[in-house]
C-alpha cells in the first residue's frame, strides 16, 4: 500500500496526462500520428479503463459491453439531430443513457456469477444488436445506421439562432468545430478525466470492496457487506465509461451503426484489458492502443512494404521471408494479434504490465543494494494494487 501513496498517484497522473497530450509527438516514429487513429487510441482507452473497473476490480467478466458503447453512440447522434451540434449534451446524454441501460442489464445479469454472468451479458448484448437491426429501426435506422440529415430539427441550435451551414454541420464545442486535431484533443481531455476518476475509484474504500469481491465474495458477505450493490455500481460505472466512449465515437464521426454492438466488439475490449493487464491502471489503455495500432497500421502493410523493409537482404532470403511474414500483415493482421495474445496469456498472465513489473525487478536485482526479496514482494504487491 505504501507504493500507492497520494504523491506517487499524482506523479502517475501527471505523467499520464503529459503522455496523452503529447501523443501526436511520440507516436510519429510509429507512423500513428494522424488524428483519426489517435482519437481511436483515446476512445478505446476510455472504453478499456471502464471495462477494467468491472473486470479488473470485481472479476465479473462481461461479454456485452459493446451494447453500452452502441447506446452511447446512438444517444449522441440523436442529441445531434434533436438538440444541438454542440458535443457536450451529446456526451452527457450518451453517458446517462448508457448508465440507465447498464443498470437494467446489470440488475438481471448480476443475479449470477462466473460463466453464467458472462453468458447473460453476451445474450443481452446480442439481443440489443439484433433489436437495433430489426425492431428498433425507427430509433436506429437499421442497417444503414443513424446519420445526420439536413432536415434534422436541432431545437437548441435553432432556438439560439445558430446558423446552419449548407450541407451537413459538424460537431462543435460552443461554435469551435471539432475536426482533426481539435477533435483528438477533446477525446484526450476526456481520457485524462476518465483516467483520474478511475484512479480515485481504485484507491478508495469502495475500490477496496470491489477488489474484495474478486478475491473472496463469500467471505465478504460474511463480513457484513452486501456485495450486490457494489457489483451493480461497478457495472453501471463501467457501462457509463462505455457510453462515454460510444458518444465520443459519434463526436469524431456523427453516425452510429448496429455493428458497434456486436459481440466481436465486446470481445475486443476483453482482449485489450487482458493484453495490457487486468486490474492495473495503465494496462487496459496500453492494450487498447496496441490493438488499435495493429488494426490500423499492420493491416495496411502489404508485400511491397515488406520488400522495402527487407530490401537489404539477398533475394533468395528475402523472398521466402516476405512470403511468410506476409501472412501476418495486411488482411492477416489478426494472426499477429492472436499470436501476441497467446504469448502474453501463456507467459505473462498479468498482461504487459506484469512484463513491465518483472523488467523493473530484474534491473533492481542487478544492483547490489536493492536486490532483496522484500523488493520483489513489494513490486508484486504494487502490481496487484493496480500500478
Amino acid at each position: 500500500m505504501q507504493d500507492n501513496t497520494p504523491r506517487n498517484d499524482l506523479i502517475l497522473f501527471a505523467c499520464f496526462s503529459i503522455a496523452v497530450l503529447a501523443m501526436p509527438l511520440w507516436t510519429a516514429p510509429f507512423g500513428a500520428d494522424y488524428p483519426d487513429l489517435l482519437q481511436k487510441f483515446a476512445i478505446y482507452g476510455i472504453f478499456a479503463i471502464g471495462f477494467n473497473i468491472l473486470f479488473g476490480l470485481t472479476g465479473y467478466l462481461s461479454f456485452g459491453h459493446a451494447a453500452f458503447l452502441g447506446v452511447g453512440s446512438y444517444t449522441a447522434v440523436w442529441a445531434f439531430k434533436l438538440l444541438t451540434m454542440n458535443v457536450l449534451p451529446a456526451v452527457l446524454f450518451g453517458v446517462i443513457f448508457a448508465g440507465i441501460f447498464a443498470a437494467a442489464i446489470g440488475f438481471l445479469s448480476l443475479r449470477r456469477t462466473g460463466i453464467y454472468f458472462s453468458i447473460l451479458t453476451l445474450a443481452f448484448a446480442q439481443m440489443s444488436y439484433n433489436l437495433a437491426y430489426s425492431v428498433l429501426t425507427p430509433l436506429t435506422n437499421g442497417e444503414t445506421g443513424l446519420q445526420l440529415r439536413g432536415t434534422d430539427p436541432r431545437l437548441l441550435d435553432s432556438l439560439l439562432g445558430v446558423a446552419t451551414p449548407d450541407g451537413l454541420p459538424s460537431p462543435n464545442l460552443f461554435g469551435f468545430e471539432l475536426l482533426g486535431y481539435p477533435s483528438f484533443y477533446f477525446c484526450a481531455v476526456m481520457l485524462i478525466i476518465a483516467f483520474y476518476l478511475a484512479l480515485r475509484i481504485t484507491r478508495s474504500p469502495f475500490g477496496t470492496m470491489l477488489r474484495a469481491i474478486k478475491s473472496n465474495q463469500n467471505r465478504l458477505s460474511y463480513t457484513g457487506v452486501n456485495t450486490r450493490p457494489y457489483a451493480m455500481a461497478a457495472f453501471v460505472i463501467s457501462g457509463m465509461y462505455a457510453g462515454l466512449a460510444g458518444s465520443l465515437l459519434a463526436v469524431t464521426d456523427p453516425l452510429a451503426g448496429a455493428e458497434r454492438m456486436q459481440w466481436t466488439a465486446s470481445g475486443e475490449v476483453v482482449l485489450m484489458t487482458i493484453l495490457g493487464g487486468a486490474g492495473t491502471m495503465l494496462g487496459p489503455i496500453l492494450g487498447a492502443g496496441i490493438i488499435k495500432y495493429f488494426e490500423n497500421i499492420f493491416s495496411a502493410f502489404n508485400d511491397a512494404t515488406l520488400h522495402s523493409i527487407f530490401g537489404f537482404l539477398p533475394h533468395w532470403l528475402s523472398d521466402p521471408l516476405v512470403a511468410v511474414l506476409g501472412l501476418f500483415v495486411g488482411d492477416g493482421w489478426q494472426l499477429t494479434l492472436g499470436a501476441l495474445f497467446m504469448v502474453i496469456v501463456i507467459f505473462l498472465p498479468g498482461g504487459l504490465m506484469e512484463g513491465a513489473t518483472r523488467l523493473i525487478q530484474l534491473t533492481r536485482r542487478k544492483r547490489p543494494d536493492g536486490g532483496s526479496s522484500e523488493d520483489a514482494a513489494g513490486s508484486r504487491r504494487a502490481f496487484h494494487a493496480g500500478e
Binding site: 474504500p205 478475491s215 463480513t223 457484513g224 457487506v225 452486501n226
Partner: protein
C-alpha cells in the same frame, strides 16, 4: 442472560433429517462448545445461524431479533461473526487490507459508495486493523499477501478479521482442525485471551483437549438431536455421551 436462543429447529436435505428439534440456549459471555460425531449436524446448525441455510421450521433468535431468513451480511451487521473450517480470507490482498475490509464494513454498513475518499487516508481504520494484527501476532506481515501465509497464520488472520468488528457472538468452526499440537495450544491461548473481551463464542470442535480447556458449557449433538448438555465435568461423566460420541471409551 441468554444471547442466542434456538427453538425446535428442523432441517432436512431431501429426506435426510440433519437437524431434529434442536433446542439450544447460549449464555452471554460464555464459551459454548458443540461437539458430536461426524455427520451429527454441527456444521448444519452453524450454517442456520449465519444465514447460509434456512431452517425448515423453528426459530433462531439473537439478542431479541430473529435470524431466520436473513442474509449473511445482515446477520453479520447485527453482531455475529464467523470463522470457517477452512480459512476464508482475501487471498490476493495484503493482511492489512484483509483486516481493514471488515473494519470498513462495520463502520459504513452493508453498502457505502465512498469512491472519492482515499483508503490509505482512513487513519482510524488502519490503526484499528494494525492493532488487531498485533493482537494475533501478525503485525510484521501486514504488507504480505494473505495467500502466502501458513494455514495456522491464515486462521489467526481470519480471527483478527472477525475480532476487529467487536462482534457480540463469534462462531468458530473447528478452529484448530489440522493444526499441530503447538499451534493448537497457541490458538487456545489466543482464544482465552479473546475471552477476556467478553465476546460470546460458539465453538465446534473435535479436539476434546480444546473443548475442555475453553468451554463453559457443552452441548452434545448426535444424529441431529441434542442428547446432552451441561458443564464440561458433567459431560465427561455422562454415559450417554460416552456411548454416542466417545464410543464407550473413558476419558
Amino acid at each position: 442472560m441468554s444471547i442466542l436462543q434456538v427453538q425446535n429447529v428442523n432441517k432436512s436435505f431431501s429426506g435426510l433429517r440433519a437437524l431434529n428439534n434442536v433446542n439450544l440456549t447460549v449464555e452471554e459471555g460464555h464459551v459454548h462448545a458443540i461437539i458430536g460425531p461426524n455427520g451429527a449436524g454441527k456444521s448444519t446448525l452453524l450454517n442456520c445461524f449465519v444465514g447460509r441455510l434456512t431452517p425448515d421450521t423453528g426459530t433462531v433468535t439473537f439478542n431479541g431479533t430473529s435470524l431466520v431468513g436473513k442474509s449473511p451480511h445482515e446477520i453479520n451487521q447485527v453482531g455475529v461473526a464467523r470463522v470457517f473450517q477452512t480459512p476464508e480470507i482475501f487471498g490476493d490482498l495484503t493482511l492489512l487490507e484483509n483486516v481493514m475490509i471488515p473494519t470498513l464494513a462495520k463502520r459504513d454498513g452493508a453498502f457505502a459508495l465512498n469512491a472519492w475518499a482515499r483508503v490509505d487516508g482512513e487513519r482510524a481504520v488502519i490503526e484499528k486493523a494494525e492493532h488487531l494484527l498485533e493482537d494475533v501476532g501478525l503485525a510484521d506481515k501486514r504488507d504480505v499477501l494473505a495467500n502466502s501465509l501458513s494455514r495456522g497464520d491464515k486462521r489467526r488472520l481470519e480471527l483478527a478479521m472477525c475480532l476487529v468488528q467487536d462482534p457480540k457472538l463469534l462462531l468458530l468452526d473447528e478452529p484448530t482442525a489440522g493444526m499441530s499440537r503447538a499451534d493448537t495450544n497457541a490458538t487456545i491461548d489466543l482464544l482465552k485471551r479473546i475471552g477476556e473481551r467478553g465476546i460470546t463464542k460458539i465453538v465446534i470442535e473435535h479436539d476434546m483437549h480444546v473443548v475442555f480447556s475453553l468451554a463453559h458449557k457443552i452441548s452434545v449433538l448426535a444424529q441431529g438431536t441434542v442428547i446432552a448438555e451441561g458443564k464440561p465435568d458433567d459431560i465427561k461423566g455422562d454415559p450417554r455421551v460416552q456411548e454416542a460420541y466417545l464410543g464407550g471409551a473413558h476419558l
